[in-house]
C-alpha cells in the first residue's frame, strides 16, 4: 500500500452547515481492514488516512458534505455523509488494477514494473468447481498455458504445458513452486488444497523463468497459499457436494439381435465360422442363433447398470480459521475431499491439514512456519467392462460369476469383489523461514523446506477371474515408495531509490536442494489359501517370492542474482542470472549458467501521454534469456551393469555383468534395449526464448489488454543415440536435437457495465503456438527413418497400437511434434477390379474394403506399401481461446466460462467398432463410400479415415450464487450459496464421446465425459 501523506492544514470555511466528527472502519469486500486509505473532503485540504485496523476519524465534516475515499488497489468512492457520524466504508477491490503486486521467483514486484511475461491468477473464483489439483482448474484461464484434463478418474491429474512442448524425452511440465519451495512438476499437485491457495503466477518468458535456471525451461507456476491478514479472527466453512453423470449416452448394444447379426456378418465376411448359430463354440459357450435371440432368448444383461454408479456423489469440505494480531498471525485449515468415480467402488479420498504461522519477534524480524499434511487413499476399480456382451449372464447356475472361458478376465463383479488395488499416500510439506528487514532498503530472507512423501500400494489378483492371478496361481504384492526433498535457500534484497528517479533493486541468493527417493516391492505367487489376499505374502509359494528395491538421489546447488533498474518509472531494465550445479550432469558439465535480460518502456509515464486520461497504462516489454531442462534421470553418467535371473543347473541364480535393460522396443515392446556406457558430457537441455510484450489499460483500468509474442528455441535435446551393435550396446544418452515453439497470446479483460448494483465483465484469452522439430540430431546416429516420397526424416513416437500394428505418432524434422503418420484412404472399394486397379491385393482388394491411395509411384509398383504413408494429421491445436463472462446484481452473481480448442486432429480408434457406427457398414445393398464392410480378419492400416477434427467449444462451467453479508460490522463475514455446473455442453464434430484426449491425440474410447453439478455453501463467521 502506498501511504499517502496529506498535510492537513485546516482552513475554516464560512459555512452554515453543522460540522461533525466522522469515524468508521474501511474494509475491503472480503472484510479485511484497509490500511492507508485516504478519506478527504474534496475541494479542501481536510483529510485523513485509515489506520492499522482500517479505522479512521475525520473532524469538522459538514453534514451535507460528500467525502472521497481512495486507496491504491481499490475503486474510488464518493459517499454522501447525510448527517451520519459513523460510516463504515467497504472498498471494492479494483481487480483490473495494475498496481497489484505479483510474486516472482525469490521476491515480489509491482505488476506494472514487470519486464517479463507473468500471468497472475486469483484462484478463489475458480474453486467453485471442486478439483483434486489446482492446475486442472487453470484450463483456459491463462494465455499461453494449455491444460488437458484427459482423465476423469477419481483423483485424476492434469497435463500442463506452457508455450508448447519443448522436450522429447525430458519432462514438458512446468516447475511448480509453492511459497518459494520448488516442489516439482506441475499437473499432480494434489497435496495442496486448491482452497488454501490465494494466487498463482505463471512465469512464461525467460526473463521470468530463468531465475529457476536448469528447471525453468518449461515455465514456472508459483503458488501462494493463504495467510491471515488484518487484525481479526475469522472462521470459514466451505462445503461442496457434487453429483456426476454422463454428458452423452453410452454407446453400447441394447439390441442383442442387431449385435449378433453384425457379429455374424463380420465373421462371415472374414471366412470364419459365425458365432451366433445356436451352437457351442470351442470354449464351450453356447451362442444362440439369431432366430433364438429374436424369439426365446431371455438373457439381456445391462452391464452398464452393474458397472456404473447411478449418480456418484462427491464431497469437498474445507474449514479455515484465520486469526491475527499485531505480532502473530496464523491460519489453519482442514479439508476432506471425496471423489467417487462412475465405476462402482472406484474412489479417491483425501484428508488434508494446513497450518501456517507468522510471528514478529521484533518489529523488523519475522518468523514464518507452516506445515501441510495430506493423506490420500485411492481404491482403483476402473476400466470395468461396461460393454460386455449382453447375452452373458452375471452368475452361473451355482451362483458363481459366469465366465465365457477360463481366460475370461473381464467379469466386472468378479474383479470388483475379489481383486484388490489400493494405494495409500501421505505427504508432508513443511516450511520454516525468517524475514529480516535489516535496514529499510535491505531485506534478508532465509528458508528451509522439507517435503516427505510416501505411498504404499496393495494389490491382490485372485487365482480365478484375473489374468495375473490365473497365470501365477494368485498374485499378491505390496509396493512401497517414499521420497524426501530438502531445500535450503537464502537471499538478500536491496531496494532503494536514488535521486528520486533511479530505482534500484538487487537480489542475490543461494539455494541447495537434496532429493532422494527409495522404493521396495514385495510380491508372492502361488497361494494355497486366498482368504487373506496380500495381507500375508508369506502364504505364497516360498520358492517364488519376488523382491525388488531401488533408490535415487540428486543434489542441486545454485546461486542466483537479479538486478532491476527503473529510471523515472519509465524505463525498466531487469537482469537475472542463475548458476546451477547438478549431480545429474556429466563430470565434464557439472555447472550450468542461465542469464536473462529484459527491457521495458512505460509510455504512459511519458509527458506526452501522461495527460491522456483514457490511457492508464501503455507498456512495451522485450526480454531474452536462457533456461534449462534437467530431464535427465540420475545415474546416466555412470557405467552400469545389469542383472538377470538365469536358470542354471535346475535352479534360478542371479547373473550379473555389463549392460542393463533400459527400455524396450519392437512390436509390443518385446525387444530389450541395452544401455550401460556412460556419457560424461551429458548436460541439460537449453531453451533460449525471446519475448515481445505489450500491456495496456484504458478507461480507469476498465479495459486491460496484454499481448505477448515469443520465439522459443530449445537445443541440446536429450536423446538416445544408437551405438554400433557390435559394441554389445544399443543406446546411449546424448544432447542432440532442436525444437522451436513460436506463437502469440493475448488477454483482453474488461468491465462492460458497472453501476451501483450491476457489474458485468468479460475476459477473453487467446493462445496460438506453432511447434516445429528442427532437428532430431545426427540422422545416422539417431537411426532416423526416411519417408521415401518426400525425404522427410522421422522417428516413431509413443506406443504402437495393436489395432493398426503401427505407431500412430512420429517426430519428423520440419514438422510439429507428434504428427500422425499413415496411409490415405479416399473411399471404399466397390468392386474387385477397382480394388486391384487401386494397387490393392488379396483381401484388401475385395469390395467393401478401404481404398488406400497409392501416393508414391516412383517405385513403379502399382501397389500399396509402406512408401505410401504420409502425414495424415496433427494433434496440436491451431489455437485455443476462452471467454469468461461474469455478472453480478446486488448479492447475486453469475459467471459462465467457454473454453475452446481449435484445429487439432484426433485419431478415433473407435470409429468402426461401436454400436453407433458398425450398422453403417458397407454391404452389397449399401454401397457407401463412408464405411467399410464388416470383416473380422482385416489387418487395418492406420489411415486418415480414422482421423477426425478434434476442435471443440465447451461450456466448461457456469456458476450462479447468492451472497448475504449478514452483518454490517464485518463485510468479510458472509454466507454464500451457489450452484455450479461443470462441462455443461460441448460443441464438436467429433464422433466419439469426447475430443479432449492426451497430447498425442489418440482417442481410445473410455466412457463419456462427466457432467458435474456442485452445490456449495460458504459460511464465514
Amino acid at each position: 500500500m502506498l501511504a499517502v501523506m496529506l498535510t492537513a492544514s485546516v482552513v475554516a470555511l464560512a459555512q452554515s452547515a453543522q460540522k461533525l466528527t466522522l469515524s468508521g472502519v474501511v474494509r475491503d469486500t472480503s472484510g479485511e481492514p484497509v490500511v492507508g486509505a485516504s478519506i478527504v473532503l474534496p475541494g479542501t485540504s481536510s483529510g485523513t488516512i485509515s489506520g492499522a485496523d482500517g479505522d479512521y476519524s475525520l473532524r469538522n465534516v459538514p453534514e451535507n458534505a460528500t467525502i472521497a475515499v481512495e486507496c491504491l488497489g481499490y475503486k474510488s468512492q464518493a459517499i454522501a455523509v447525510g448527517g451520519r457520524s459513523q460510516i463504515n466504508i467497504v472498498l471494492e477491490e479494483d481487480s483490473m488494477f495494475i498496481e497489484e503486486t505479483v510474486v516472482v521467483g525469490y521476491g515480489q514486484m509491482k505488476k506494472s514494473d514487470l519486464t517479463g511475461s507473468v500471468s497472475s491468477v486469483k484462484t478463489e473464483a475458480l474453486t467453485d468447481v471442486p478439483s483434486n489439483t489446482i492446475e486442472g482448474l487453470l484450463q483456459g484461464r491463462v494465455a499461453g498455458v494449455q491444460v488437458i484434463n484427459a482423465s476423469q478418474d477419481p483423483g485424476a491429474t492434469a497435463t500442463i504445458r506452457i508455450r508448447g512442448n519443448s522436450s522429447l524425452n525430458g519432462s514438458n511440465a512446468p516447475l511448480v513452486v509453492i511459497d518459494g519451495f520448488p516442489y516439482g512438476e506441475a499437473g499432480a499437485l494434489s497435496q495442496i488444497n486448491p482452497q488454501d491457495i490465494i494466487s498463482m503466477e505463471v512465469l512464461k518468458d525467460a526473463s521470468a523463468s530463468a531465475i529457476y535456471g536448469s528447471r525453468g525451461a518449461n515455465g514456472v507456476i508459483l503458488i501462494t497459499t493463504r495467510k491471515a491478514k488484518g487484525n481479526l479472527t475469522r472462521v470459514s466453512v466451505r462445503q461442496q457436494t457434487t453429483l456426476s453423470s454422463f454428458s452423452t449416452p453410452l454407446d453400447i448394444w441394447r439390441d442383442p439381435v442387431l449385435m449378433a447379426m453384425i457379429s455374424n456378418e463380420g465373421r462371415k465376411n472374414a471366412g470364419l465360422v459365425e458365432q451366433y448359430i445356436g451352437a457351442v463354440n470351442t470354449n464351450g459357450v453356447y451362442y444362440p442363433s439369431i432366430n433364438e435371440l429374436q424369439t426365446s432368448w431371455s438373457t439381456n444383461t445391462r452391464w452398464d447398470e452393474i458397472v456404473f454408479r447411478k449418480c456418484p456423489v462427491s464431497n469437498n469440505t474445507t474449514v479455515q480459521v484465520q486469526s491475527s494480531n499485531d505480532k502473530t498471525m496464523f491460519t489453519a485449515s482442514a479439508n476432506y475431499f471425496l471423489d467417487n468415480g462412475m465405476y462402482i467402488k472406484d474412489t479417491y479420498n483425501k484428508y488434508g491439514g494446513n497450518f501456517a504461522v507468522e510471528h514478529k519477534i521484533i518489529e523488523n524480524l519475522k518468523l514464518k512456519a507452516s506445515a501441510n499434511i495430506t493423506g490420500s487413499k485411492r481404491h482403483s476399480n476402473g476400466y470395468l467392462s461396461y460393454n460386455r456382451n449382453p447375452i452373458f449372464p452375471v452368475y452361473d447356475e451355482n451362483g458363481d460369476y459366469w465366465q465365457y472361458s477360463v481366460q475370461d478376465y473381464y467379469h466386472p463383479l468378479a474383479i470388483t469383489n475379489l481383486q484388490k488395488d489400493e494405494t495409500k499416500g501421505m505427504d508432508l510439506i513443511s516450511y520454516f523461514g525468517i524475514d529480516y528487514q535489516i535496514i529499510p532498503c535491505l531485506n534478508f530472507t532465509a528458508q528451509l523446506n522439507y517435503k516427505h512423501g510416501e505411498t504404499i500400494r496393495d494389490v491382490y489378483f485372485p487365482k480365478k477371474y484375473t489374468e495375473r492371478g490365473v497365470f501365477n496361481d494368485g498374485y499378491g504384492g505390496i509396493n512401497n515408495w517414499k521420497d524426501d526433498n530438502l531445500v535450503v535457500e537464502a537471499y538478500a534484497t536491496f531496494d532503494k531509490t536514488f535521486a528520486q528517479k533511479h530505482h534500484f533493486t538487487a537480489m542475490a541468493g543461494y539455494s541447495y536442494e537434496n532429493y532422494s527417493s527409495r522404493s521396495s516391492g514385495l510380491a508372492s505367487v502361488g497361494y494355497v489359501n486366498e482368504s487373506l489376499g496380500n495381507e500375508n505374502l508369506a502364504a505364497g509359494n516360498p520358492e517364488k517370492y519376488q523382491i525388488s528395491n531401488s533408490a535415487y538421489k540428486t543434489e542441486l546447488v545454485s546461486a542466483m542474482l537479479r538486478l532491476n533498474y527503473a529510471y523515472d518509472n519509465r524505463y525498466l531494465v531487469t537482469f537475472t542470472a542463475r548458476a546451477d550445479g547438478s549431480s545429474k550432469f556429466g563430470a565434464n558439465n557439472k555447472w550450468a549458467f542461465f542469464p536473462s535480460a529484459a527491457l521495458s518502456w512505460k509510455m504512459n509515464e511519458e509527458s506526452w501521454m501522461k495527460d491522456i486520461k483514457q490511457i492508464n497504462l501503455m507498456k512495451i516489454r522485450a526480454s531474452y534469456g536462457i533456461s534449462g531442462n534437467q530431464g535427465i534421470s540420475a545415474y546416466q553418467t555412470l557405467s552400469r551393469y545389469g542383472q538377470h535371473k538365469y536358470y542354471n543347473d535346475g535352479q534360478w541364480v542371479t547373473s550379473i555383468g555389463p549392460g542393463y535393460i533400459s527400455g524396450s522396443t519392437g512390436q509390443g515392446g518385446i525387444y530389450a534395449v541395452w544401455s550401460g556406457i556412460p556419457n560424461v558430457g551429458l548436460k541439460w537441455e537449453t531453451t533460449s526464448q525471446f519475448d515481445l510484450g505489450f500491456d495496456a489499460a484504458f478507461f480507469d483500468n476498465r479495459l486491460n489488454f496484454t499481448f505477448d509474442w515469443y520465439y522459443k528455441h530449445t537445443s541440446d535435446l536429450l536423446r538416445q543415440r544408437n551405438i554400433a551393435p557390435s559394441s554389445g550396446y544399443d543406446k546411449m544418452w546424448v544432447n542432440d536435437g532442436e525444437i522451436l515453439n513460436t506463437g502469440f497470446e493475448f488477454t483482453l479483460d474488461g468491465v462492460i457495465f458497472r453501476n451501483k448494483n450491476w457489474n458485468v465483465g468479460a475476459t477473453m484469452v487467446f493462445s496460438l503456438n506453432r511447434n516445429k522439430v528442427l532437428s532430431l540430431g545426427n540422422a545416422v546416429e539417431a537411426g532416423l527413418n526416411v519417408d521415401t516420397r518426400t525425404g522427410m526424416q522421422y522417428e516413431f513416437y509413443g506406443n504402437s497400437l495393436e489395432q493398426y500394428r503401427a505407431y500412430t505418432n512420429i517426430l519428423a524434422v520440419g514438422k510439429p511434434m507428434y504428427v500422425f503418420y499413415g496411409y490415405v484412404v479416399d473411399g471404399i472399394v466397390q468392386s474387385l477390379a477397382e480394388g486391384l486397379d487401386a494397387g490393392l491385393s488379396g483381401d484388401d482388394a475385395q469390395p467393401g474394403e478401404f481404398r488406400y491411395v497409392n501416393i508414391y509411384n516412383a517405385d513403379r509398383l502399382n501397389t500399396i506399401n509402406e512408401d505410401d504413408r504420409c502425414i495424415i494429421g496433427d494433434p496440436n491445436p491451431d489455437f485455443t481461446a476462452s471467454l469468461a463472462l461474469n455478472a453480478s446484481w446486488k448479492g447475486l452473481d453469475f459467471n459462465i466460462f467457454f473454453n475452446g480448442v481449435f484445429g487439432n486432429d484426433v485419431i478415433n480408434t473407435k470409429r468402426f467398432s461401436m454400436p453407433s457406427n458398425q450398422p453403417l457398414r458397407w454391404t452389397v445393398d449399401n454401397r457407401t463410400e463412408k464405411y467399410p464392410r464388416l470383416n473380422d480378419n482385416r489387418q487395418t492400416k492406420l489411415s486418415n479415415w480414422w482421423v477426425e477434427d478434434g476442435s471443440f467449444v465447451r461450456i466448461q462451467s457456469a456458476t450462479l450464487g447468492y451472497t448475504w453479508h449478514y452483518t454490517k460490522k464485518d463485510y468479510g463475514r458472509k454466507l454464500r450459496f451457489y450452484v455450479s455446473g461443470d462441462n455443461l455442453f460441448t460443441f464438436t464434430k467429433f464422433s466419439g464421446y469426447d475430443p479432449e484426449v492426451s497430447a498425442l491425440g489418440v482417442y481410445n474410447g473410455g466412457y463419456p465425459r462427466l457432467r458435474k453439478w456442485t452445490f456449495g455453501v460458504d459460511f464465514t463467521f
Partner: protein, 504 residues
C-alpha cells in the same frame, strides 16, 4: 569462464557437497568381480545373453526357415517372410538378422568382461579356469555364429567401456576371424574339464572340442566345395578334415569320456525333463517357472499349429500314451515335400512329426491332410507340463549325435564312422548304410542323414552354406537367380555399417 567455475565450485564447498554421483542399487565394474560368487554370476550372465527371445528363437529357426524344409504362416512377421523368401534387398534391415548379430556381440561383450576381469581376481584357480574357459567358449561360439552368417565381422576382444570403444575394424580376412575362433576354442579346451554329468545351460571341455570339430569341418567342406571366399582361405582341406576328426574323436571315440554318449531312446532326447541327458553337450537353459520370456520359453508355440486355442494331445512314439501340449501359433510350418521325403519307417518322421491330434479321451481332433490340421508339425519342442504359454523347452545347440555325424563326415567311410551313423539310423528304425561306399558317397550319405536327424534343430542352412548349395538347393533363391556369391553371407546390418566408420 574458468574463474566462474572456480567460484561456482567453491559455492559447492559451502554446502559440503561434491555433486558426485555414487551408484546405488546397481553394480558396475568398480564394485564387482570381488568374490567367487561374482565370477560365477558373471559367467552366468554370458549364457543369459542367448536366452532373450530376439536371439533364442533365431538361433534355431535361422537354420531352417530360409531353406525348403520350413515355411512361415501367411501373416508371419515381415522379417520371417523376408528370410523365407530370400528377399536379399531387405536383409540389411531385417530385424531377425539384426537381433541375431546384436545378441552375438552382447554375448561377446559379456564374455570379454569375464576374460579380462576374472583372471585378475584372487579366488580359487580351478574356478577361475572354468569361468574363463567357459567365457572363451561362448566368445568362440558367438564368433562362429557371426562368421558363418555374416563373414568378416568386427572383432571385439575387450569389453566396451566408452563411446570410442564401440567401433572397431572388421576382421581383415576370414583366416584372421577363424584363427580367433580356433584360438578361443583351444583356450577353452585347455582351461576347462569334462563335467561329471551334463549341466543344462553350461558348457565344458567336451563342448569346446565339439565346436572345434564342427568349425574345422565347416571350413574344410566349404573350401572343398568351392564356396565363395572360403575357397581362397589359407589352409589345407585334408588337414582341417583331420583336425576335425581329432577333435570329434575326443568326444565320440574316447572311452575315457563317459559323460556324453548316444541316448538310445529317441524320444528321451526330446523330453524336456531330460535336458541333462547324455546327448546334450550344449543346450539353452530355460524353465517354465521364469517370469519373462527368455527365462521361460514359448518356442513350442512356434512349431505347433493353431488348433482350438486350448489343450491338445499327441500320441507318444508308436504307443497310445497321450502327451499333453498347448496348441500353437503356426509360425514355423513343415514343408510337405520335406515331410514326404523321409524314408519309409523313419521314426523321426513317424514319431517326431505329428499329423494327428487328439482330445483328452483319445478322440481324433484334427489330422493332416484335410482335417483341420494345416501341416504335420514338429513336436521336438513340446512341454507336456506347460503353464499357459510358458514352457521349459530348451533349444538344442550341440548334440552328441551331431558330433557323431561330424566325425563320420570328416573321417569318411571308416569303421568307426559307419558304426556311429548306423547307430543313429537304427535308433530311427532304419537299416544300416550300404557298406563300402566311396568317400564322396559316404559323405553325401552322412550329410543326408544330418538333414533328417537334425531336422528343425537349426542346422540345415549352415550345412547348405558349407556345401556351397545355397543357390542350388533353395527354391526361393533359385527363382530369383541369386548366385553363390550373392548368398554366401548375409550383409552386415545397416545400423553397424552406418555407425561404424571402419566398415566401408
Amino acid at each position: 569462464m574458468k574463474r566462474i567455475s572456480i567460484i561456482l565450485a567453491s559455492l559447492a564447498l559451502v554446502c559440503g557437497c561434491t555433486l558426485e554421483e555414487y551408484p546405488y542399487g546397481f553394480y558396475s565394474e568398480n564394485n564387482f568381480y570381488k568374490t567367487a560368487a561374482d565370477a560365477e554370476s558373471a559367467i552366468n550372465y554370458v549364457y543369459d545373453a542367448i536366452t532373450y527371445i530376439e536371439y533364442s528363437r533365431a538361433i534355431v529357426f535361422l537354420g531352417d526357415m530360409n531353406t525348403d524344409v520350413m515355411t512361415p504362416k501367411g501373416d508371419a512377421t515381415a522379417a520371417t517372410k523376408e528370410l523365407d523368401g530370400w528377399k536379399m534387398a531387405t536383409f540389411k534391415t531385417n530385424t531377425t538378422l539384426y537381433n541375431f548379430y546384436k545378441y552375438s556381440y552382447i554375448t561377446i561383450n559379456r564374455a570379454n568382461s569375464v576374460i579380462e576381469n576374472v583372471p585378475k581376481m584372487d579366488i580359487d584357480q580351478a574356478l577361475k579356469d572354468r569361468c574363463v574357459g567357459e567365457a572363451y567358449f561362448m566368445r568362440a561360439y558367438s564368433y562362429y555364429c557371426l562368421a558363418r552368417n555374416f563373414g568378416r565381422v568386427p572383432i571385439h576382444l575387450k569389453p566396451t567401456r566408452t563411446l570410442d570403444d564401440t567401433t572397431v575394424a572388421p576382421a581383415e580376412s576370414l583366416d584372421q576371424l577363424w584363427a580367433q575362433i580356433f584360438s578361443d576354442l583351444e583356450n577353452a579346451e585347455s582351461l576347462m574339464q569334462v563335467n561329471a554329468a551334463p549341466r543344462p545351460g553350461r558348457t565344458d571341455k567336451v563342448a569346446a572340442l565339439s565346436l572345434m570339430a564342427k568349425a574345422y569341418l565347416y571350413l574344410a567342406s566349404a573350401k572343398e566345395s568351392g564356396a565363395p571366399f572360403y575357397k581362397d582361405m589359407n589352409f589345407g582341406v585334408e588337414d582341417y578334415y583331420q583336425k576335425s576328426v581329432q577333435a570329434a574323436a575326443k568326444v565320440v571315440a574316447d572311452p575315457s569320456q563317459t559323460t556324453y554318449h548316444f541316448d538310445s531312446d529317441l524320444m528321451a532326447i526330446y523330453d524336456v525333463e531330460k535336458s541333462d541327458g547324455p546327448e546334450h553337450i550344449f543346450i539353452m537353459s530355460m524353465d517354465r517357472t521364469g517370469e519373462t520370456e527368455g527365462q521361460y520359453s514359448k518356442i513350442s508355440k512356434m512349431y505347433i499349429p493353431y488348433i482350438s486355442g486350448g489343450t491338445i494331445y499327441l500320441k507318444q512314439g508308436d504307443t497310445d500314451v497321450l502327451i499333453k501340449s498347448h496348441d500353437g501359433w503356426s509360425e514355423y510350418q513343415t514343408a510337405a515335400d520335406f515331410w514326404n521325403s523321409f524314408e519309409a519307417g523313419d521314426r523321426r518322421h513317424d514319431w517326431l512329426f505329428c499329423d494327428k491330434v487328439y482330445d483328452v479321451n483319445g478322440n481324433l481332433l484334427a489330422s493332416y491332410p484335410g482335417n483341420k490340421l494345416s501341416y504335420p508339425f514338429c513336436r521336438k519342442f513340446i512341454d507336456p507340463d506347460y503353464s499357459g504359454d510358458k514352457t521349459s523347452t530348451k533349444p538344442m545347440l550341440i548334440r552328441f549325435s551331431d558330433i557323431a555325424l561330424v566325425y563320420a563326415e570328416a573321417a569318411g567311410p571308416t569303421e568307426k564312422a559307419y558304426e556311429l551313423v548306423n547307430f543313429i539310423r537304427s535308433r530311427a528304425g532304419l537299416s544300416p548304410l550300404s557298406a563300402g561306399l566311396s568317400k564322396e558317397a559316404f559323405r553325401a550319405a552322412v550329410q543326408k542323414e544330418r538333414t533328417y536327424e537334425l531336422a528343425f534343430e537349426g542346422d540345415l542352412c549352415y550345412d547348405l552354406r558349407r556345401q556351397n548349395k545355397l543357390h542350388t538347393n533353395i527354391t526361393e533363391a533359385k527363382g530369383q537367380g541369386w548366385t553363390a556369391e550373392d548368398m554366401v553371407f548375409y550383409p552386415i546390418p545397416s545400423l553397424e555399417t552406418d555407425l561404424n566408420p571402419y566398415i566401408k
